[in-house]
Amino acid sequence: MTLYAPFVKPSVLPGFRLTIIFTILYLTMIVLLPLGALLFRASSLGVHELVVLALDGRTLSALRLSFVTSFAAAAFNVPFGLLIAWVLVRYDFPGRRFFDAIIDLPFALPTAVAGIALTALYAPKGWIGSIATIFGLKIAYTPIGVFLALVFVGLPFIVRTVQPVLAEVDRELEEAAATLGAGRLRTIASVVLPVLSPAILTGFALAFARAVGEYGSVIFIAGNIPYVSEIAPLLIVIKLEEFDYAGATAVAAFMLAVSFATLLLINLIQARARTRYGHV
């Protein structure tokens, strides 16, 4: 008779112990160890020094730029990613498979390539940048440029998380709403979107997380002007190059804390939705 820990449900299908040991070891080595090292490094600085370093004007504006543009880009991608997923799932048209395939390009492209391409387009002398200049709009080398690059890299996350869930949405639900007198927009808002919301939230969280850490595609188009278009990951690299390890650690620890809090919050919202509607 094997003794089980109280949380283990005895089962005739073995595998719990092997898989749980592997999971814990793997997560520890791949995820927790590097992050632990970072926190260890930060803790050796002391709280006071950490706060002083993080509240430095240049650091603060870099952090603000990173989180605000990441949030905005992920939020911007939600409605448009949703629309694209909708069209790809619901309609059949010539070239559908082609468009479906190019959704993944921002994943696959080396980020530096994407950054250079975007800069070429949006720089004041580029195709789109020169048109924008006529209207007095400067895109490259401003936060707008950062935002654009983050929209580019974030799009696949929304589309790819929503797509499979949307494909599973029961058409009868929409028909039921229609027979009850609900118009099309009302039906989508009150019947389809609630079913999609966990997937949308997941996609948003992934796009946001990717955007916060994004480096390659942003640094070319951002211009990296301190206090204006300098993102936090770049600031870390700059500080490292200047052998300012303490400063780099402080920025990194701060980013880690905010990112972790954000993802935790999103997970909590989803867990609540899940217990409420059964599976979803």
Binding site: A177, T179, L180, G181, R186, S190, P194, Y277
Partner: protein, 349 residues
């Protein structure tokens, strides 16, 4: 609200799902659309609901042409086989959905909506369930909620698509009885689609038997069972055996033996024909007049016994049903069969 369907056709691509269906439904009638899958019964129901656009014909609601009205404008109640409840809404919010989506001018007050929900929850005998979610209810309860949701908008016609199809046999029967009582109390004009003949014959005022996009027969459950009008209906409803016979000078022959069948209209043709006989309409004796045959099989099932006879001079098997407590014949015994009722159709196919 009476319903008048005129020459309705529907084609999907190159296949026709409905070939010119004409049907009148009286106000307050409970009508069953019965047929095998692919017979067009669900397509017909969805055309009435406005969920499919007919290829031709007209649908009139109370004399008014609704053919070009949208689903939303038709004011029908539709119940789906798999309930189609909104699982992110409570039972109360599901039921009130149709009232809450109305434009402000016609929307009842919040208090009126609450009252309506209470009233409907009582009607479907789930008074305490308003705050729960669909995932917390059993299949039968969910289907009753779906019915309440459809009724909340006070529909002119109630349309049920295989309403009991997803439920287990026991709940199915209970809900069937419940729906009949419910209909008698509320009196909605109701169309329901089913492939289950027992359900249709048990529940409906009138049964429409469909096959291949056409109406084969319409009539009361008794008409449909006792007087099937076509070979298809004979095959599809109840049990029957088909005998390939021939008619000579207006008299039917099984092999070389003439059979007498009461209440058969005069036969105005000669040649091959099909005879459909239900086992409960076959009696047998050990002597006397009749169609002579030999017992070839005996099979006891529950309260009855099924006996297979091979008609003399043929390979055709005729089945008879007798009470199990009656002394059965033995295999190889000979008997004279009396066919009390049967359907006879010309042709061989």
């Amino acid at each position: 609200m009476e319903l008048d369907i005129r020459n309705l056709t529907k084609t999907f691509g190159s296949t026709a799902a409905l070939h010119g269906v004409d049907l009148k439904v009286a106000s307050g009638e409970l009508l069953a659309l019965l047929g095998p899958s692919g017979s067009g019964k669900t397509t017909l129901l969805r055309c009435v609901a406005g969920l499919e656009i007919p290829s031709g014909g007209q649908i009139l609601f109370g004399g008014e042409d609704a053919s070009f009205k949208s689903v939303q404008e038709r004011n029908i109640g539709f119940v789906f086989q798999h309930y189609a409840l909104f699982k992110h809404l409570t039972i109360a919010d599901n039921i009130s959905y149709g009232l809450r989506v109305r434009p402000r001018r016609t929307r009842p007050t919040a208090a009126a909506i609450r009252n309506k929900v209470e009233e409907l929850l009582a009607l479907i005998q789930l008074p305490e369930y308003g705050g729960r979610y669909p995932s917390q209810l059993s299949g039968g309860q969910r289907q009753r909620v779906a019915l309440a949701r459809a009724l909340a908008v006070e529909p002119r016609v109630l349309l049920l698509d295989e309403p009991f199809g997803a439920l287990d046999a026991k709940v199915r029967k209970e809900l069937r009885v419940w729906l009949r009582e419910f209909h008698d109390r509320t009196g909605h004009t109701t169309l329901f689609v089913t492939h289950d003949q027992e359900e249709a014959l048990d529940l409906a005022d009138r049964v429409i038997v469909m096959s291949n996009g056409k109406i084969e027969q319409e009539g009361s459950p008794e008409d449909i069972y006792d007087r099937p009008a076509t070979p298809f209906v004979f095959d599809f409803i109840g049990e029957s055996v088909r005998l390939d016979i021939h008619v000579d000078k207006g008299r039917p022959f099984v092999g070389q033996q003439e059979v007498s069948i009461p209440r058969l209209p005069p036969l105005l043709f000669d040649g091959p024909a099909k005879l459909y006989v239900r086992p409960e309409h076959v009696a047998f004796r050990r002597d006397g007049e009749g169609l002579w045959a030999t017992v070839v099989s005996l099979h006891r099932s529950g309260s009855s016994r099924r006996i297979g006879f091979r008609a003399d001079g043929t390979e055709m098997i005729i089945e008879a049903l007798t009470p199990a407590d009656r002394e059965p014949p033995r295999i190889g015994d000979r008997a004279a069969l009396e066919i009390r009722a049967a359907g006879l159709f010309s042709g061989t196919a």
